[in-house]
Amino acid sequence: MRQLLKTDVSEFRRLLDWTAEMTTHANIPTTAAAIADGVRSGALKAVDVLEAHLAQIAAREGDIHAFNLVTADEARAAAARVDVDVAAGRDPGVLAGVPIALKDNMCTRGIPTTCSSKILEGWRPPYDATVVQRLAAAGAVAIGKTNLDEFAMGSSTENSAFGVTFNPRDISRVSGGSSGGSAAAVAAGFSPISIGSDTGGSIRQPAALCGVVGVKPTYGTVSRYGLVAYASSLDQMGPFSTDVRDSALVLEAISGHDPMDSTSIPQAPLSLQHVLSQGVEGLRVGRITDMPSGADPDVTARLEAAFDALTAAGAKIVDVEMPSMKYALTAYYLIAPAEASSNLARYDGVRYGLRVNATDTNAMYSATRTAGFGEEVKRRIMLGTYALSAGYYDAYYGKALKVRRLISDDFARAYAKADVLLTPTSPIVAFPVGEKSDDPLAMYLCDIYTIPTNLAGHPAMSVPFGTGAHGLPVGVQILAPTLGEQVMFKVAASLERSMIAAGGAK
């Protein structure tokens, strides 16, 4: 343990040096909580906070490509409104003046929303997503739309029609995906907070690869209204942040029932910040004994360090079994493409986006879709169409739904014994750009530890926990049962404290 802590200190020194180099905002706090406190008290001006972040974007965006669009003019107007509210004595909201980057699959009224696809290039949604509305109401300042794998299908943000997003920690490597732009934006200091969507790991995996916190809440906790659908029974939105408190703060602002989403759970917003200091004394942390192998040794070493840190903090480690977890990848890559093939049928060149003209509607649909969709999207539409088609439905889609039940039942048994489970987030650290782009199955395996959560609809989050090969960040994933966000955040905060105690800073 002592030896481990010593390693942590040197790792964190390196991280600190890197943070100092990356974050050039003089006198501007790096966390959303501190920015909001400063703006609300009048000690900070929202416009100054914004300009510092726009300057950081100007300095580094050329190397990173986190954004499809930076909305500097709209952001300046929003920041000025926050400052006017503060000056007038009106409550500017809990996220007052906090710059926020939005994944480009969330509808923003009048502002292009592309899903990084040519088929939606130029589309300006006629309404705001509920999350976008709630962030604005809380005083957050949206600064732009971040890059993603086209329609959120991918694990590296290499499938974007508008180019790759590079990892701020090493720009020869991928940022992960599909919310790679949102993860990179926070890691590069472009905004303290970003929002992503997670269908099979698309928040947690890029968070791990970029060294930031990323949360997928319980399905139904955050409204999906205005999130462009990929796989509707799996999609969920959530935050990226540099520390655990900021993700708690944002989730409190964006969660809670929304009548516009029929899968939204009728409940009050989550209450999370008060649990962060509560500690993990007596909590049961599950180790999955039959977890699919394949994680690199540098990643499993950090997972072991996390178990040690939680033990030292008073938690009890218990063994659990998840015998069906090894089938999760198969179930996911049948269910998600099946739902996608249905959801993406709407891109037909009639109501919005691209149209390639042809002599009749059927030819127009095909010509439009063939020209507008990228290779991975076509692959998943084809796979999903096949899995749903007559003669194959029972063998593939029907079976996958039953396997989904087995995995959900495994979780139920595991959570009878454990309060949370701990796994790696990604089996590997950030990989070089291009390394997996010709091998779809190798790319799919990146999500092996994140996918089971989505199938069950449970919450899970990735917290940075030191570094692995090449000094690159490693994330540890905390999984909790349905609506178990509070216990999940307790554990996340405890892991973060153990890193700080080991010589790091948040």
């Binding site: 589309w123 300006r124 006629p126 399905y219 139904g220 029974s233 799996l234 029929s262 899968t263 759970i265 089938y327 990848l329 198969t330 890559y333 049948l334 093939s341 060149g349 009639v350 109501r351 919005y352 986006g353 691209l354 149209r355 003209n357 002599t359 009749d360 509607t361 059927n362 030819a363 127009m364 649909y365 095909s366 879709r369 063939t370 076509k378 692959r379 539409i381 084809m382 796979l383 169409t385 096949y386 088609s389 063998a395 593939y396 029907g398 079976k399 996958a400 739904l401 039953k402 396997v403 989904r404 039940r405 959900s408 779809p440 199955l441 199938l455 069950a456 609809g457 449970h458 349905t482």
Partner: protein
């Protein structure tokens, strides 16, 4: 289900699926997609051996049923704003090519 990869999916099925999905594929693409899909289906064969006869399919993670709201009139989206996004519009409606084409 014990077919070899090549037997799992044929080029003919890929062509049929592409038509159902409204995607045009070239003969080269058919070959490539057939190989890739066969590889994936082979990987997915791990669930073939499971006895799932008594298992209830799971279609959604958090069961909510009959989600209703009060029947109140609300303002919908602005028609002009919506039609401004359409590739072609006329007289307040979406304009499309002929439904019945020359090749049937």
């Amino acid at each position: 289900m014990s077919e070899s990869p090549s037997e799992r999916i044929s080029a003919e099925v890929v062509v049929k699926v592409s038509r159902l999905a409204r995607l045009d594929v070239t003969p080269d693409e058919v070959q490539r997609i057939t190989t890739q899909m066969a590889g994936m289906l082979e990987h997915f064969a791990d669930i073939d051996a499971l006895d799932l006869s008594d298992i209830e399919p799971m279609t959604q993670p958090y069961p909510l049923s009959n989600v209703f709201r009060e029947d109140v009139v609300v303002t919908g989206l602005d028609r002009e704003e919506v039609l401004a996004n359409a590739p072609a519009a006329e007289d307040g409606r979406f304009r499309v090519p002929p439904i019945v084409g020359l090749d049937g």
